[in-house]
């Protein structure tokens, strides 16, 4: 084993010019991610960050790990392919709400059914940022951000409830500007054995003038007593909510409670872990059930040729089944 080198947040920075708009919530997500990689003391080359297309999709270029900026809506299949080929990698997928819940919704739903051991982070800004602010699937009906010609015609999807129903085994919500809290969520998401999902509320100051930092922070509703803003965001931990499944019998109840909790929106927005169930076997474990050496000998570490470049798989046994006798 090669000795792991010490890492810090700077280890995970690149010198690529960051062209997000000033004040964009994406900055918070980026630094929370870098902090969590550092705190988990991960070796950069053992980590791969995948992304979709959008403002959010540019994130990998700013992180000094393998960075794969894929296609619009397709981040999950790419990430899952890499993880299954080499389960040793720490794989993180990120993308926009349009990316993940609009064009990518089919992968979002179906990935839950697999429970591959990766983390998926959605930058939930209510808009299609990079294409100039059309409504994304998380924007509620009737809202009219400044970039829309008229009120949004579609209802919003609830990403937390959708993820739980889809089968994600760790489902949380973070807030881009509470980077410490988000960093902890990301750490837990990475450490979670199975498919983790974090919905991150991400202000887009350029196009979403409704869900702003100020709005989340409750600047518009001051406590009459203290004169201080009453934030719209609160922490699930702070109200004693516990979404962790500790044995099989709790699953349905915890799931239902988490879904109900996720309907809480508007002026009281919970962040934290809604649901976590470490008891479901991962896809990798399920493969192991019929290919026992998969865990130690997955595709990426299998030799396929000998030193003379000849194939090393023996096909004679298989052929034998078809031999004419």
């Amino acid at each position: 084993m090669v000795m792991a080198e010490r890492v810090s947040v700077t280890t995970f920075r690149t010198d690529v010019f960051n062209n997000w708009c000033p004040g964009c919530g994406d900055f918070g997500i980026l630094s929370a991610l870098q902090m969590s990689l550092a705190e988990l003391n991960l070796q950069p080359h053992k980590v791969a960050v995948f992304s979709g297309i959008g403002c959010s999709g540019k994130l990998p270029h700013y992180v000094n790990v393998y960075g794969i900026h894929t296609l619009h809506g397709r981040v999950l299949p790419f990430a899952i392919g890499a993880k299954l080929a080499n389960p040793e990698l720490t794989v993180i997928a990120v993308g926009g709400d349009g990316d993940g819940l609009g064009i990518g919704a089919g992968h979002f739903l179906n990935s839950g059914r697999r429970n591959v051991d990766i983390l998926y982070i959605i930058h939930n800004n209510g808009v299609y940022g990079l294409t100039k602010g059309q409504a994304s699937p998380t924007l509620r009906r009737g809202m009219k951000t400044k970039s829309l010609p008229r009120e949004n015609i579609n209802d919003a999807i609830n990403p937390i409830a959708a993820a739980i129903v889809a089968g994600y085994t760790f489902v949380a919500r973070g807030y881009a500007y509470d980077t410490k809290h988000l960093k902890d969520l990301i750490k837990r998401g990475i450490e979670h054995k199975g498919m983790a999902f974090i919905d991150v509320l991400q202000p887009c100051p350029t196009y979403n003038d409704i869900h702003t930092k100020e709005w989340y922070g409750g600047e518009d509703r001051k406590d009459p007593a203290t004169g201080k803003p009453v934030p719209r965001i609160y922490k699930l931990e702070s109200v004693g909510y516990d979404g962790e499944v500790r044995n099989e019998s709790e699953v349905t109840e915890k799931m239902s409670r988490a879904i109900m909790k996720s309907f809480e929106m508007g002026d009281n927005i919970p962040i934290g872990v809604f649901y976590s169930n470490p008891l479901v076997p991962t896809y990798e474990e399920r493969i192991g059930a019929f290919a026992p050496n998969y865990a130690n000998f997955p595709p990426a570490v299998q030799p396929i040729r000998n030193l003379a470049y000849r194939p090393v798989a023996k096909i004679d046994d298989i052929l034998e089944e078809f031999a004419v006798k």
């Binding site: 090669v2 690149t14 690529v16 950069p44 080359h45 791969a48 297309i53 270029h61 000094n64 790990v65 393998y66 960075g67 794969i68 900026h69 894929t70 296609l71 397709r74 299949p77 790419f78 899952i80 392919g81 299954l84 080929a85 080499n86 040793e88 990698l89 089919g106 179906n110 493969i287 019929f290 290919a291 050496n293 998969y294 130690n296 000998f297 997955p298 595709p299 990426a300 570490v301 299998q302 030799p303 396929i304 040729r305 000998n306 030193l307 003379a308 470049y309 000849r310 194939p311 090393v312 798989a313 096909i315 046994d317 298989i318 052929l319 089944e321 078809f322 031999a323 004419v324 006798k325």
Partner: protein, 663 residues
């Protein structure tokens, strides 16, 4: 219907039909195995509807002591146990050939067979010169008997009862399952093939299930005795003579051949979404997900392995994806991790892969798409044959990026081409589309043992495992003269890189700088020139017949079989005909083809599509256009028979465009 004639070639054409779900497939497989076991080469073609139960399916098996690579239109032995098969196929039985049928069904009305399409009903009644509502099975039988076809009525239900007594089972629903093998056995008796070969075949067909084999053998014996006891006149045709010997041959269909080749090639990640006829390959691989490795050699370790555990067995991860978009994207993801990865699909699935393909092209990721063409457009004829996707593959995806497209002419080629596809993909760091089709997928042939002796696994350029500087500056997309940049697998120490579908710089970061754009575009496109210059001409084209001929057939893919069979059939009549098979379609081997066709006076484009796609492509790349076309797009592969007729028509009458119509 064609003019039936017995070919000069020593071929025997057997056909079985029946409704789907009634065991036509296993019967045909058992027959094919039996005949192969008896020492013949076989070629079997399966035709079925996009339906699970009830519609008509049939299976033609041609046996020969020589080459056999296609079916005939004329049938020597027609094996049936329902009325529909007789209505549909009896007219194709040769004079002196025979029909086995269920004698209890002779009164069956044409009108009662609801699965017959109106044109079939019309055709049958026209041939018989009767009102459709009047036609009964016996009319057909009488008609063909008049054409010297021999009839073999079988009292299936009586015989089944007899079998039931012998095996102590009287439940009819159970016994009915033996009918298919009984029909096969009847044909073997008529053809005078020893039933001991059938025994081997049944063991193969019902592997492991001793009891089932036993019951089927009992049924076979029973009908054998009946046939030998009841009929005295057998066929005018005999199987040619062979001496059964220990041939090292296998009986397989195309999806199996390609599946095995993938394992051999080192493919360790395959994705798919169910689709006919491609998914059989993936299901096969799922079944063979764990396989032994050669333990007596020194392995070349993959770049990523840090001196790890090496298993005695390899494994391939096969993922059933949620759709074909995910299928190709997962494969590309796995390839980034350093693994040989592939996906297998058919037209509709491929249509969903455009973006994934383009991303792989843009990011220079090797990935193999095994494309089994079927009848299009749209859902088309999902279980039928066509070569309709080739021009699409060459231009697939928006924008311009390099890719390689190769097509196999038969199963042997399919085996080696599968391995070649991965070699090309890794060597040139680009997507490779391996074109196959329903005919290759679903045909059954006797194949010699594939040899790995000359097989080399080429993995292309890799950067050293341990890279110097902390990883911030590994240039995954380094400019090079060849266009190829050394690559690393995700997880390699020091090899950190970025990838993006956006135009990017050498590190893989987005750029919109016009000069970098030009350099990267040129770098990528240079690789296709490199491939063109490096791939040996033998891998690009094959030539059959006299190179100095001025009459050329040009074709690609699975038409190879019927074309070679037809040429063989025309020996002595059309010896001046030469055949150019294009195997590498992109980059197109213009130079050797211009060289060959320069003086051709007649260029006959033979393809299974409407528009003569190879002809178009050839003209695009060489300015040489075919002078004549033989095309077929009704969903069924060419038979040798119709190709012989069509070639004569083109050559003798100068017919510009012949459309073949055989079923």
């Amino acid at each position: 219907m064609m003019d039936l004639k017995q070919r000069s070639s020593p071929k025997f054409c057997w056909m079985i039909g029946g409704s789907q779900g009634s065991g036509v497939d296993s019967a045909a497989n058992a027959y094919a195995y039996t005949i192969a076991s008896a020492g013949y080469n076989v070629f079997g073609k399966r035709e079925y509807y996009s339906n699970i139960k009830g519609e008509h399916s049939y299976f033609t098996v041609v046996a020969s002591n020589g080459n056999v690579r296609s079916v005939l239109e004329e049938i020597h032995m027609l094996v049936t146990f329902d009325a529909e098969t007789v209505f549909r196929h009896a007219f194709n039985v040769l004079p002196g050939g025979g029909v086995i049928y269920d004698q209890s069904q002779v009164e069956e009305k044409l009108r009662n067979i609801h699965t017959l399409e109106p044109p079939v009903v019309k055709r049958v009644s026209e041939v018989l010169g009767k009102e459709a509502s009047d036609v009964r099975l016996k009319d057909v039988l009488n008609y063909v008997e008049g054409k010297k076809v021999k009839l073999y009525p079988i009292p299936y239900s009586d015989l089944l009862k007899r079998v039931g007594d012998l095996i102590g089972q009287q439940q009819l629903s159970f016994l009915t399952r033996l009918v298919n093998i009984m029909a096969v056995a009847a044909s073997l008796s008529i053809m005078d093939v020893d039933l001991r070969y059938l025994q081997a075949a049944l063991e193969y067909t019902f592997r492991g299930k001793k009891k089932v084999v036993g019951m089927n053998m009992t049924a076979a014996q029973t009908i054998h005795e009946y046939v030998r006891g009841s009929f005295t006149s057998f066929l005018d045709y005999k199987l040619p003579q062979v001496t059964p010997n220990n041939r090292d041959v296998f009986i397989m269909n195309g999806t199996t051949v390609v599946g095995i080749a993938k394992i051999a090639s080192g493919c360790r990640f395959q994705t798919y979404y169910p689709i006919t006829p491609a998914s059989d390959e993936s299901v096969f691989l799922e079944d063979k997900a764990v396989f032994p490795l050669n333990s007596d050699v020194e392995y070349e370790y993959p770049h990523i392995a840090e001196g790890k555990y090496v298993g005695k067995e390899g494994n391939i991860v096969v993922v059933q994806a949620e759709d074909e978009i995910a299928a190709i994207d997962m494969a590309v993801g796995a390839s980034l991790a350093g693994v040989r990865a592939a996906t297998a699909t058919s037209g509709p699935g491929f249509s969903l892969m455009m973006e994934g393909l383009g991303w792989a092209g843009m990011n220079e990721v090797p990935v193999v798409v095994t494309l089994y063409q079927r009848g299009g457009p749209s859902t088309g004829l999902p279980t039928r044959h066509e070569q309709g996707d080739m021009l699409f593959t060459i231009h697939a995806g928006h924008g311009e990026f390099p890719r390689i497209v190769l097509a196999s002419g038969d199963m042997e080629e399919a085996f080696y081409d599968t391995i070649k596809a991965f070699n090309y993909a890794e060597r040139y760091q680009m997507p490779v589309i391996h074109l196959l089709d329903k005919s290759i997928a679903n045909s059954t042939i006797t194949l010699r043992r594939p040899s790995l002796d000359n097989v080399i696994i080429e993995r292309g350029l890799w950067a050293d495992g341990e890279l110097a500087n902390g990883g911030k500056t590994f240039k995954r997309y380094e400019y090079t003269e060849s266009g190829l940049s050394p690559r690393v697998a995700l997880g390699t120490k020091g090899g950190i890189f970025w990838a993006t579908g956006d135009e990017h710089d050498e590190l893989g970061h987005i750029t919109e700088d016009p000069t970098i754009r030009d350099a990267m575009m040129e770098k990528r496109m240079r690789k296709i020139e490199l491939a063109d210059s490096e791939i040996p001409v033998e891998e690009k084209i094959s030539v059959y017949g006299d190179r100095s001929s001025d009459k050329w057939i040009v074709s690609w893919g699975s038409t190879k079989g019927p074309i070679l069979d037809a040429m063989e059939e025309l020996t002595g009549i059309r010896d001046d005909l030469a055949f150019l098979q294009v195997r590498l379609l992109h980059p197109f081997p213009s130079a050797p083809i211009i060289e060959i066709l320069r003086n051709a006076r007649m260029i006959i484009d033979i393809e299974q599509n409407y528009s003569g796609q190879l002809g178009q492509l050839m003209r695009m790349r060489t300015s040489i256009a075919p002078t004549h076309h033989i095309l077929k797009y009704n969903g069924r592969p060419f038979s040798m028979s119709e190709l012989v007729v069509a070639l004569q028509d083109v050559i003798s009458n100068g017919t510009k465009r012949v459309v073949c119509k055989g079923e």
